[in-house]
């Protein structure tokens, strides 16, 4: 009878220890993941996350790469109301505020041509 109680006690002790290891493993895994994330964020700063992204879109030091595009094909325009964060959309060029007018043949001495 006593031997049976001892066996049960020993079993309970081992189970408690196992629970302790499990808990420690879970906590350790979360902690390690956090540390590795921090290391990765510091080591791989991303691709021009600062100046190249539109203002207001900088959320850290890493910018997700946009979907691959074919250089020989013009990128599609951003939607009128972006459904995704601005950092996902390519920057868009703007026209001159005052447009382009006709010079009526007379120029100021400046030439725009290939160089």
């Amino acid at each position: 009878m006593r031997s049976h109680q001892q066996a049960a006690s020993e079993r309970d002790r081992l189970l408690r220890r196992l629970r302790g290891w499990t808990t420690a493993s879970v906590i350790g895994a979360f902690g390690l993941a956090g540390v590795l994330s921090l290391v990765a964020a510091t080591t791989f700063p991303g691709r021009s996350a600062h100046a190249s992204a539109p203002s207001g879109s900088q959320s850290g030091s890493s910018t997700p790469s946009p979907a691959p595009t074919n250089a020989s094909t013009p990128p599609t325009a951003a939607p009128e109301t972006p459904a995704t964060p601005a950092a996902e959309d390519p920057p868009t060029p703007q026209p001159p505020a005052t447009g382009v007018g006709s010079g009526r043949g007379r120029h100021s001495g400046a030439v725009s041509g290939g160089s």
Binding site: P45, R47, Q94, V100
Partner: protein, 312 residues
């Protein structure tokens, strides 16, 4: 076509091409030129692919590892990456090695026609996404063997920055043309700056083309008719398709674009040469006034580029 003498004018050589500065006040042209020259020299020291002492040359030499960069090169790299994103990779800073393979490995005035063999096998550029720019720490890393070339965007950035600095310091209207990349800043002359648009920036005032006026932003022209050379009997030019690493087929001979900055105008013009027939749609969608000339001299105008019959 004739040139109006109403502005101050100054000229000097820079960035392997010519700089031309116009000011709305004639007496300020020399001071504006001094400001422009100083800024352009900073860009050249940072961004030249051909100066062994430039920051960019150091970055290319140290490919494979992180290299510290100063604020000028960091800005130029950020602009180049933004341009690459904007154009879907058509204007890509990683074409440096491809240009070198084709013989354009030194200042263009030193590139001579030669009989040396040229390899015209398509080889895509590594791609702008391989460039890691850490602006916070002021450093950049490119894969081993990759060579950056900022020629497409750095000259336009220099024009924008120089015009803004000169106009800000002198309080007058300033036009800066760096090898045909035009940026204006400050109050323009009445009616705007009248600019002759033609194939070659060094063409004389009577060269065939059109005159347009610009009040703000920039105007840039990309052309396959300039910076041409031969290797082994093959005629080459400097506008490469990053998808092949080879000079693009000449659908458009020359493309001129106006935009809110010279950087964007230059990017759109160069990308349009690469995109060929698909370019007018993209330009129109972004409301960028543009003039595209095909190989036969036929002209396509989009997004409000004035018709020539408007000329009086």
């Amino acid at each position: 076509m004739s040139a109006s003498p109403a502005h101050g004018v100054a000229e000097f050589a820079a960035l392997g091409t010519g700089a031309r500065i116009l000011t709305t006040q004639a007496s300020l042209a020399a001071a504006a030129a001094e400001i422009v020259a100083r800024y352009v020299e900073r860009i050249d020291e940072a961004c030249s692919r051909f100066r062994s002492d430039s920051e960019l040359a150091r970055v290319n030499r140290r490919s494979g590892g992180w290299t510290g960069v100063g604020p000028v090169l960091a800005e130029a790299l950020a602009v180049a990456l933004r341009v690459a994103r904007m154009t879907g990779g058509a204007v890509d800073p990683t074409v440096g090695a491809a240009l070198g393979r084709l013989g354009y490995d030194r200042d263009f005035v030193l590139v001579v026609d030669g009989d040396g063999e040229v390899r015209l096998r398509p080889e895509p550029a590594p791609g702008w996404r391989t460039v890691e720019l850490d602006e916070r720490r002021g450093r950049v890393r490119i894969p081993r063997g990759v060579e950056l070339d900022l020629g497409a965007s750095a000259k336009a950035l220099a024009a924008d920055g120089a015009a803004a600095r000169a106009a800000g310091a002198l309080g007058c209207g300033v036009l800066v043309s760096l090898g045909g990349d035009v940026a204006v800043a400050g109050p323009p002359p009445p009616g705007g700056w009248a600019v002759l648009v033609t194939d070659h920036h060094a063409a004389g005032p009577d060269a065939p083309g059109e005159v347009v006026t610009l009040g703000d932003g920039g105007l840039a022209t990309s052309s396959t008719t300039v910076r041409r050379w031969t290797r082994g009997g093959v005629t080459l030019h400097h506008i490469l398709d990053p998808a092949t690493g080879l000079p693009v087929a000449e659908h458009w001979r020359t493309v001129s674009v106006a935009a809110s900055s010279c950087v964007d105008a230059n990017a759109a013009a160069t990308a349009s040469v690469i995109w060929g027939a698909r370019a007018p749609d993209w330009l129109a969608r972004h409301h960028l006034p543009a003039r595209l000339v095909d190989g036969r001299g036929e002209v396509v105008r989009v997004a409000g580029w004035p018709q020539p019959e408007d000329d009086g």
